[in-house]
Protein backbone atom coordinates (compact mmCIF):
# COMPACT_ATOMS: atom_id res chain seq x y z
CA UNK A 1 0.00 0.00 0.00
CA UNK A 2 1.34 3.41 -0.98
CA UNK A 3 0.88 5.79 1.92
CA UNK A 4 3.15 8.69 1.03
CA UNK A 5 1.84 12.24 1.28
CA UNK A 6 4.78 13.76 -0.52
CA UNK A 7 7.49 13.00 -3.07
CA UNK A 8 10.59 14.82 -1.87
CA UNK A 9 13.75 12.70 -2.00
CA UNK A 10 14.63 9.20 -3.24
CA UNK A 11 16.01 8.50 0.22
CA UNK A 12 12.41 8.34 1.48
CA UNK A 13 11.61 5.31 -0.72
CA UNK A 14 12.04 1.61 -0.09
CA UNK A 15 12.61 -0.77 -2.99
CA UNK A 16 9.03 -2.05 -2.55
CA UNK A 17 7.64 1.46 -2.87
CA UNK A 18 9.72 2.12 -6.00
CA UNK A 19 8.55 -1.16 -7.53
CA UNK A 20 4.97 -0.22 -6.73
CA UNK A 21 5.35 3.14 -8.57
CA UNK A 22 7.03 1.51 -11.60
CA UNK A 23 4.27 -1.09 -11.81
CA UNK A 24 1.59 1.58 -11.67
CA UNK A 25 3.39 3.56 -14.40
CA UNK A 26 3.31 0.55 -16.69
CA UNK A 27 -0.43 0.16 -16.14
CA UNK A 28 -0.93 3.79 -17.10
CA UNK A 29 1.33 3.80 -20.18
CA UNK A 30 -1.57 3.23 -22.54
CA UNK A 31 -3.16 6.50 -21.31
CA UNK A 32 0.20 8.29 -21.41
CA UNK A 33 0.43 7.49 -25.12
CA UNK A 34 -3.09 8.86 -25.64
CA UNK A 35 -4.28 5.50 -26.98
CA UNK A 36 -7.15 5.44 -24.49
CA UNK A 37 -8.82 8.34 -22.70
CA UNK A 38 -8.93 8.43 -18.91
CA UNK A 39 -10.95 10.34 -16.34
CA UNK A 40 -9.12 8.92 -13.33
CA UNK A 41 -8.32 12.38 -12.00
CA UNK A 42 -11.35 14.19 -13.36
CA UNK A 43 -12.30 17.06 -11.06
CA UNK A 44 -8.81 17.24 -9.57
CA UNK A 45 -6.50 20.24 -9.92
CA UNK A 46 -2.70 20.19 -10.02
CA UNK A 47 -0.79 23.45 -9.44
CA UNK A 48 2.61 23.89 -11.07
CA UNK A 49 4.66 26.23 -8.90
CA UNK A 50 7.95 26.80 -10.69
CA UNK A 51 10.41 29.35 -9.31
CA UNK A 52 12.99 28.36 -11.90
CA UNK A 53 12.65 27.87 -15.65
CA UNK A 54 11.81 24.39 -16.81
CA UNK A 55 10.42 23.02 -20.04
CA UNK A 56 10.26 19.25 -20.07
CA UNK A 57 9.56 18.67 -16.39
CA UNK A 58 6.73 21.20 -16.25
CA UNK A 59 5.19 20.10 -19.56
CA UNK A 60 5.42 16.42 -18.73
CA UNK A 61 3.65 16.98 -15.39
CA UNK A 62 1.01 18.97 -17.25
CA UNK A 63 0.59 16.24 -19.87
CA UNK A 64 0.37 13.56 -17.15
CA UNK A 65 -2.41 15.44 -15.34
CA UNK A 66 -4.36 16.25 -18.52
CA UNK A 67 -4.12 12.70 -19.88
CA UNK A 68 -5.82 11.58 -16.65
CA UNK A 69 -8.65 14.08 -17.08
CA UNK A 70 -7.42 16.58 -14.47
CA UNK A 71 -6.98 20.34 -14.62
CA UNK A 72 -3.74 22.29 -14.32
CA UNK A 73 -2.97 25.66 -12.74
CA UNK A 74 0.28 27.08 -14.00
CA UNK A 75 2.23 29.63 -12.08
CA UNK A 76 5.19 30.27 -14.36
CA UNK A 77 8.59 31.48 -13.26
CA UNK A 78 7.69 35.13 -13.88
CA UNK A 79 4.56 35.14 -11.74
CA UNK A 80 6.32 33.01 -9.15
CA UNK A 81 9.18 35.46 -8.91
CA UNK A 82 6.81 38.39 -8.44
CA UNK A 83 5.06 36.50 -5.66
CA UNK A 84 8.33 35.65 -4.02
CA UNK A 85 9.38 39.31 -3.91
CA UNK A 86 7.22 40.06 -0.95
CA UNK A 87 6.08 36.71 0.31
CA UNK A 88 7.81 33.73 1.85
CA UNK A 89 7.59 30.38 0.07
CA UNK A 90 5.84 29.06 3.18
CA UNK A 91 3.02 31.62 2.79
CA UNK A 92 2.77 31.08 -0.98
CA UNK A 93 2.41 27.35 -0.45
CA UNK A 94 -0.18 27.82 2.29
CA UNK A 95 -2.25 29.95 -0.11
CA UNK A 96 -1.85 27.97 -3.36
CA UNK A 97 -2.41 24.62 -1.67
CA UNK A 98 -5.96 25.75 -0.95
CA UNK A 99 -6.65 26.11 -4.69
CA UNK A 100 -5.52 22.65 -5.76
CA UNK A 101 -5.35 18.94 -4.91
CA UNK A 102 -1.63 18.47 -5.51
CA UNK A 103 1.26 20.91 -5.75
CA UNK A 104 4.32 20.48 -7.97
CA UNK A 105 7.22 22.66 -6.83
CA UNK A 106 10.53 23.64 -8.38
CA UNK A 107 12.65 26.04 -6.33
CA UNK A 108 16.31 27.16 -6.36
CA UNK A 109 16.93 26.41 -2.67
CA UNK A 110 17.82 22.93 -1.49
CA UNK A 111 15.26 21.49 0.90
CA UNK A 112 12.54 23.89 -0.31
CA UNK A 113 10.14 21.04 -1.10
CA UNK A 114 10.70 19.45 2.32
CA UNK A 115 9.82 22.73 3.99
CA UNK A 116 6.87 23.35 1.63
CA UNK A 117 5.42 19.98 2.62
CA UNK A 118 5.26 21.20 6.22
CA UNK A 119 3.06 24.12 5.18
CA UNK A 120 0.96 22.61 2.40
CA UNK A 121 -2.52 21.24 2.97
CA UNK A 122 -2.18 19.01 -0.14
CA UNK A 123 0.53 16.55 -1.29
CA UNK A 124 3.76 18.11 -2.62
CA UNK A 125 5.87 16.74 -5.46
CA UNK A 126 9.45 17.99 -5.64
CA UNK A 127 10.25 18.85 -9.26
CA UNK A 128 13.80 19.89 -8.39
CA UNK A 129 15.17 21.91 -5.47
CA UNK A 130 18.29 23.66 -6.74
CA UNK A 131 21.27 21.34 -6.68
CA UNK A 132 19.25 19.09 -4.38
CA UNK A 133 16.81 16.39 -5.36
CA UNK A 134 14.77 15.64 -8.43
CA UNK A 135 13.07 12.36 -7.50
CA UNK A 136 10.72 12.16 -10.48
CA UNK A 137 13.79 12.25 -12.77
CA UNK A 138 15.31 9.33 -10.86
CA UNK A 139 12.05 7.39 -11.00
CA UNK A 140 11.72 7.91 -14.74
CA UNK A 141 15.36 6.84 -15.16
CA UNK A 142 14.66 3.63 -13.25
CA UNK A 143 11.50 3.10 -15.27
CA UNK A 144 13.43 3.52 -18.54
CA UNK A 145 15.95 0.91 -17.39
CA UNK A 146 13.14 -1.43 -16.38
CA UNK A 147 11.30 -1.01 -19.69
CA UNK A 148 14.26 -1.01 -22.05
CA UNK A 149 16.59 -3.38 -20.16
CA UNK A 150 15.98 -4.86 -16.71
CA UNK A 151 16.59 -3.60 -13.18
CA UNK A 152 18.22 -6.55 -11.49
CA UNK A 153 21.67 -8.00 -12.11
CA UNK A 154 22.87 -5.46 -14.64
CA UNK A 155 25.96 -3.34 -15.04
CA UNK A 156 25.45 0.44 -15.29
CA UNK A 157 28.02 3.10 -16.18
CA UNK A 158 27.24 6.63 -15.02
CA UNK A 159 29.39 9.10 -16.91
CA UNK A 160 30.14 12.80 -16.46
CA UNK A 161 30.03 15.22 -13.55
CA UNK A 162 29.61 12.92 -10.56
CA UNK A 163 30.75 15.46 -7.99
CA UNK A 164 28.10 18.16 -8.31
CA UNK A 165 25.38 16.29 -10.18
CA UNK A 166 23.08 15.37 -7.34
CA UNK A 167 20.45 13.80 -9.57
CA UNK A 168 23.21 11.36 -10.40
CA UNK A 169 23.68 10.73 -6.68
CA UNK A 170 19.97 9.96 -6.30
CA UNK A 171 20.12 7.57 -9.24
CA UNK A 172 23.17 5.81 -7.80
CA UNK A 173 21.41 5.40 -4.43
CA UNK A 174 18.33 4.00 -6.14
CA UNK A 175 20.38 1.59 -8.27
CA UNK A 176 22.16 0.38 -5.15
CA UNK A 177 18.81 -0.94 -3.91
CA UNK A 178 18.86 -3.37 -6.83
CA UNK A 179 21.55 -5.93 -7.56
CA UNK A 180 23.55 -3.59 -9.79
CA UNK A 181 27.23 -3.15 -10.63
CA UNK A 182 27.87 0.59 -10.87
CA UNK A 183 30.81 2.01 -12.82
CA UNK A 184 31.41 5.67 -12.07
CA UNK A 185 33.20 7.31 -14.97
CA UNK A 186 34.37 10.89 -14.47
CA UNK A 187 37.42 13.11 -14.76
CA UNK A 188 39.58 13.08 -11.65
CA UNK A 189 38.32 16.49 -10.45
CA UNK A 190 34.64 15.53 -10.78
CA UNK A 191 34.67 12.18 -8.95
CA UNK A 192 31.77 11.20 -6.71
CA UNK A 193 32.18 12.41 -3.08
CA UNK A 194 33.71 9.76 -0.79
CA UNK A 195 30.75 9.87 1.62
CA UNK A 196 28.38 8.85 -1.18
CA UNK A 197 30.70 6.15 -2.45
CA UNK A 198 30.97 4.65 1.02
CA UNK A 199 27.19 4.86 1.47
CA UNK A 200 26.72 2.95 -1.81
CA UNK A 201 29.19 0.27 -0.78
CA UNK A 202 27.51 0.10 2.62
CA UNK A 203 24.24 -0.64 0.82
CA UNK A 204 25.91 -3.61 -0.84
CA UNK A 205 26.45 -2.12 -4.30
CA UNK A 206 29.49 -3.12 -6.33
CA UNK A 207 31.13 0.20 -7.21
CA UNK A 208 34.01 0.79 -9.62
CA UNK A 209 35.58 4.18 -10.33
CA UNK A 210 37.52 5.11 -13.43
CA UNK A 211 38.27 8.10 -15.63
CA UNK A 212 38.47 5.96 -18.80
CA UNK A 213 35.15 5.40 -20.51
CA UNK A 214 36.81 2.93 -22.90
CA UNK A 215 37.62 0.61 -19.97
CA UNK A 216 33.93 -0.07 -19.22
CA UNK A 217 31.87 0.78 -22.30
CA UNK A 218 31.98 -2.72 -23.82
CA UNK A 219 30.89 -4.44 -20.60
CA UNK A 220 27.86 -2.44 -19.50
CA UNK A 221 24.13 -2.87 -20.08
CA UNK A 222 23.28 0.77 -19.42
CA UNK A 223 25.33 3.83 -20.34
CA UNK A 224 24.00 6.90 -18.52
CA UNK A 225 25.62 10.09 -19.83
CA UNK A 226 25.35 13.48 -18.14
CA UNK A 227 26.51 16.89 -19.17
CA UNK A 228 29.82 18.23 -17.91
CA UNK A 229 29.41 21.91 -17.17
CA UNK A 230 31.99 24.26 -18.60
CA UNK A 231 31.92 26.46 -15.49
CA UNK A 232 33.39 23.66 -13.37
CA UNK A 233 36.71 24.13 -15.15
CA UNK A 234 38.87 27.22 -14.61
CA UNK A 235 40.88 26.34 -17.74
CA UNK A 236 38.83 26.16 -21.01
CA UNK A 237 41.44 23.91 -22.65
CA UNK A 238 41.09 21.41 -19.81
CA UNK A 239 37.30 21.47 -20.22
CA UNK A 240 37.52 20.73 -23.97
CA UNK A 241 39.87 17.83 -23.33
CA UNK A 242 37.60 16.26 -20.71
CA UNK A 243 34.32 16.92 -22.56
CA UNK A 244 35.81 15.45 -25.72
CA UNK A 245 36.91 12.27 -23.98
CA UNK A 246 33.34 11.40 -22.98
CA UNK A 247 31.71 12.13 -26.30
CA UNK A 248 29.69 9.18 -27.59
CA UNK A 249 30.13 8.55 -31.29
CA UNK A 250 29.00 5.68 -33.50
CA UNK A 251 32.62 4.46 -33.74
CA UNK A 252 32.81 4.11 -29.97
CA UNK A 253 29.89 1.67 -30.08
CA UNK A 254 31.53 -0.92 -32.36
CA UNK A 255 32.11 -3.54 -29.67
CA UNK A 256 29.41 -2.75 -27.12
CA UNK A 257 26.95 -5.33 -25.79
CA UNK A 258 24.11 -6.03 -28.17
CA UNK A 259 21.48 -5.07 -25.58
CA UNK A 260 23.19 -1.84 -24.45
CA UNK A 261 20.92 1.15 -23.81
CA UNK A 262 22.19 4.75 -23.83
CA UNK A 263 20.41 7.26 -21.59
CA UNK A 264 20.79 11.00 -21.02
CA UNK A 265 18.59 13.31 -18.88
CA UNK A 266 18.71 15.94 -21.70
CA UNK A 267 19.24 18.60 -22.83
CA UNK A 268 22.44 17.34 -24.41
CA UNK A 269 25.08 19.63 -25.77
CA UNK A 270 27.92 17.69 -27.37
CA UNK A 271 27.97 14.51 -25.24
CA UNK A 272 26.24 12.35 -27.83
CA UNK A 273 26.71 12.69 -31.60
CA UNK A 274 23.42 13.02 -33.51
CA UNK A 275 24.41 9.95 -35.60
CA UNK A 276 23.96 7.87 -32.44
CA UNK A 277 20.25 8.83 -32.34
CA UNK A 278 19.38 6.39 -35.11
CA UNK A 279 21.17 3.41 -33.51
CA UNK A 280 19.18 0.82 -31.58
CA UNK A 281 21.06 1.77 -28.42
CA UNK A 282 19.69 5.32 -28.20
CA UNK A 283 16.88 5.49 -25.61
CA UNK A 284 17.16 9.08 -24.42
CA UNK A 285 14.09 10.34 -26.27
CA UNK A 286 12.02 7.42 -25.05
CA UNK A 287 13.37 8.24 -21.59
CA UNK A 288 11.70 11.67 -21.74
CA UNK A 289 8.40 10.03 -22.73
CA UNK A 290 8.63 7.69 -19.74
CA UNK A 291 8.45 10.79 -17.54
CA UNK A 292 4.74 10.99 -18.38
CA UNK A 293 3.58 7.56 -17.10
CA UNK A 294 5.84 7.93 -14.03
CA UNK A 295 4.27 11.29 -13.17
CA UNK A 296 0.80 9.89 -13.88
CA UNK A 297 1.54 7.08 -11.44
CA UNK A 298 2.66 9.48 -8.73
CA UNK A 299 -0.30 11.83 -9.21
CA UNK A 300 -2.76 8.94 -9.08
CA UNK A 301 -1.18 7.33 -6.05
CA UNK A 302 -0.90 10.57 -4.09
CA UNK A 303 -4.47 11.56 -4.75
CA UNK A 304 -5.87 8.12 -4.01
CA UNK A 305 -4.02 8.26 -0.69
CA UNK A 306 -5.37 11.74 -0.16
CA UNK A 307 -8.97 10.64 -0.70
CA UNK A 308 -8.67 7.72 1.67
CA UNK A 309 -6.98 9.78 4.37
Amino acid sequence: MFTKREIISMKDFSQDEIDCILKKAQELEVYARGEKPSDLLSGKIMANLFFEPSTRTRLSFETAMKRLGGEVLNLGSEEASSISKGETLADTVRVISQYCDVLVLRHPKQGAARMAAEYSSVPIINAGDGAGHHPTQTLLDLYTIKRESRLNGISVAIVGDLKYGRTVHSLAYALALYDTRISLVSPEQLRIPDTIKSDLEGMGAEVFETSELSSVINDVDVLYITRIQRERFPDPAEYRKVAGSYRISVDLLNDVKDNLIIMHPLPRVTEIDVEVDSTKYAKYFKQTFYGVPIRMALLTMLMETDDEA
Partner: protein, 153 residues
Protein backbone atom coordinates in the same frame (compact mmCIF):
# COMPACT_ATOMS: atom_id res chain seq x y z
CA UNK B 1 47.91 19.04 52.07
CA UNK B 2 44.23 18.99 51.29
CA UNK B 3 43.43 20.64 47.95
CA UNK B 4 40.86 23.33 48.20
CA UNK B 5 37.84 23.09 45.97
CA UNK B 6 37.77 25.88 43.42
CA UNK B 7 33.98 26.12 43.61
CA UNK B 8 31.93 25.40 46.67
CA UNK B 9 29.83 22.27 46.81
CA UNK B 10 26.18 23.01 46.13
CA UNK B 11 23.35 22.03 48.42
CA UNK B 12 20.68 21.31 45.79
CA UNK B 13 20.85 21.29 42.02
CA UNK B 14 22.84 19.79 39.15
CA UNK B 15 26.57 19.38 38.57
CA UNK B 16 27.72 18.77 35.00
CA UNK B 17 31.18 17.27 35.17
CA UNK B 18 33.78 16.13 32.62
CA UNK B 19 32.95 18.76 30.03
CA UNK B 20 35.62 19.11 27.33
CA UNK B 21 37.93 21.90 28.50
CA UNK B 22 36.86 25.24 27.10
CA UNK B 23 33.28 24.22 26.29
CA UNK B 24 31.53 25.20 29.56
CA UNK B 25 30.14 28.44 28.15
CA UNK B 26 28.80 26.65 25.07
CA UNK B 27 27.17 24.11 27.38
CA UNK B 28 25.42 26.96 29.18
CA UNK B 29 24.29 28.36 25.85
CA UNK B 30 22.90 25.04 24.67
CA UNK B 31 21.03 24.61 27.93
CA UNK B 32 19.70 28.18 27.56
CA UNK B 33 20.74 28.90 31.12
CA UNK B 34 23.08 31.81 30.58
CA UNK B 35 21.22 35.09 30.77
CA UNK B 36 17.76 33.55 30.74
CA UNK B 37 17.59 32.00 34.16
CA UNK B 38 17.82 33.32 37.70
CA UNK B 39 19.56 30.16 38.88
CA UNK B 40 22.94 30.58 40.59
CA UNK B 41 25.45 29.10 38.14
CA UNK B 42 29.12 28.43 38.84
CA UNK B 43 31.57 27.62 36.10
CA UNK B 44 35.04 26.17 36.48
CA UNK B 45 37.19 25.95 33.38
CA UNK B 46 40.41 24.07 32.68
CA UNK B 47 40.28 22.14 35.94
CA UNK B 48 43.03 19.44 36.18
CA UNK B 49 41.43 16.00 35.76
CA UNK B 50 42.52 12.39 36.06
CA UNK B 51 40.49 11.30 33.02
CA UNK B 52 41.52 14.04 30.64
CA UNK B 53 44.20 16.67 30.70
CA UNK B 54 41.72 19.28 31.84
CA UNK B 55 37.98 19.63 32.07
CA UNK B 56 35.26 22.16 32.69
CA UNK B 57 32.57 21.89 35.36
CA UNK B 58 29.20 23.64 35.57
CA UNK B 59 27.05 23.79 38.71
CA UNK B 60 23.46 24.94 38.57
CA UNK B 61 21.84 25.56 41.94
CA UNK B 62 18.26 24.69 42.87
CA UNK B 63 17.46 23.19 39.51
CA UNK B 64 17.46 19.49 38.62
CA UNK B 65 18.07 19.18 34.90
CA UNK B 66 16.16 16.39 33.19
CA UNK B 67 17.80 13.93 30.78
CA UNK B 68 16.17 15.19 27.55
CA UNK B 69 17.23 18.68 28.42
CA UNK B 70 20.81 17.74 29.09
CA UNK B 71 21.38 15.22 26.29
CA UNK B 72 21.79 18.08 23.85
CA UNK B 73 25.17 18.88 25.38
CA UNK B 74 26.48 15.50 24.19
CA UNK B 75 27.02 17.32 20.89
CA UNK B 76 29.97 19.21 22.32
CA UNK B 77 30.68 17.32 25.55
CA UNK B 78 30.18 13.63 24.78
CA UNK B 79 31.78 12.41 28.05
CA UNK B 80 29.95 14.76 30.38
CA UNK B 81 28.29 13.32 33.49
CA UNK B 82 25.21 14.73 35.16
CA UNK B 83 25.00 14.64 38.96
CA UNK B 84 21.78 15.53 40.70
CA UNK B 85 22.48 16.89 44.18
CA UNK B 86 20.13 17.02 47.18
CA UNK B 87 21.33 18.17 50.58
CA UNK B 88 24.96 17.97 49.38
CA UNK B 89 24.54 14.30 48.38
CA UNK B 90 24.70 12.93 44.83
CA UNK B 91 21.38 11.14 44.53
CA UNK B 92 21.53 10.45 40.79
CA UNK B 93 24.39 10.23 38.33
CA UNK B 94 24.18 9.58 34.62
CA UNK B 95 26.03 10.08 31.36
CA UNK B 96 24.70 12.04 28.39
CA UNK B 97 23.35 10.38 25.26
CA UNK B 98 23.51 11.82 21.76
CA UNK B 99 20.01 12.83 20.66
CA UNK B 100 18.73 11.32 17.38
CA UNK B 101 17.28 14.66 16.29
CA UNK B 102 18.40 18.18 17.15
CA UNK B 103 16.37 21.26 16.33
CA UNK B 104 17.36 24.90 16.48
CA UNK B 105 20.82 24.23 17.91
CA UNK B 106 23.10 24.31 14.86
CA UNK B 107 22.78 26.01 11.49
CA UNK B 108 23.25 24.25 8.16
CA UNK B 109 26.67 24.89 6.59
CA UNK B 110 25.10 24.82 3.12
CA UNK B 111 24.40 28.45 2.06
CA UNK B 112 21.83 27.20 -0.48
CA UNK B 113 19.78 25.33 2.13
CA UNK B 114 16.23 26.61 2.66
CA UNK B 115 16.95 26.74 6.41
CA UNK B 116 19.40 29.60 5.72
CA UNK B 117 16.78 31.90 4.19
CA UNK B 118 14.12 34.18 5.67
CA UNK B 119 11.60 31.34 5.49
CA UNK B 120 10.04 30.35 8.83
CA UNK B 121 12.17 27.23 9.28
CA UNK B 122 13.82 25.93 12.43
CA UNK B 123 17.00 24.04 11.60
CA UNK B 124 16.64 20.32 12.11
CA UNK B 125 19.34 17.64 11.96
CA UNK B 126 19.20 13.88 12.22
CA UNK B 127 22.07 11.85 13.71
CA UNK B 128 23.85 10.15 10.80
CA UNK B 129 27.00 8.64 12.32
CA UNK B 130 28.49 8.61 15.82
CA UNK B 131 32.16 8.09 15.00
CA UNK B 132 33.09 10.45 13.46
CA UNK B 133 30.11 12.48 14.67
CA UNK B 134 27.95 13.54 11.72
CA UNK B 135 24.46 14.99 11.48
CA UNK B 136 22.36 15.19 8.32
CA UNK B 137 20.27 18.28 7.57
CA UNK B 138 16.58 17.35 7.47
CA UNK B 139 16.03 19.87 4.66
CA UNK B 140 18.96 19.78 2.21
CA UNK B 141 20.34 16.41 3.43
CA UNK B 142 23.87 17.84 3.63
CA UNK B 143 26.21 16.45 6.29
CA UNK B 144 27.70 18.43 9.19
CA UNK B 145 30.74 17.04 10.94
CA UNK B 146 32.01 19.98 12.99
CA UNK B 147 29.01 20.77 15.13
CA UNK B 148 30.86 23.33 17.31
CA UNK B 149 31.49 25.55 14.28
CA UNK B 150 27.79 25.84 13.51
CA UNK B 151 26.25 26.45 16.94
CA UNK B 152 23.34 28.85 16.50
CA UNK B 153 23.18 30.02 20.06
Amino acid sequence: MKRELKIEAIRNGTVIDHIVAGQALNVLKILSIAGTSEAVVSVAMNVPSELAEAKDIVKVEDRELIADEVDKIALIAPNATINIIREYEVIEKHVVHLPDVITGIISCPNPDCISNTREPVTSKFVLHRIDPLQFRCHYCEGLVDSVIDYLLI
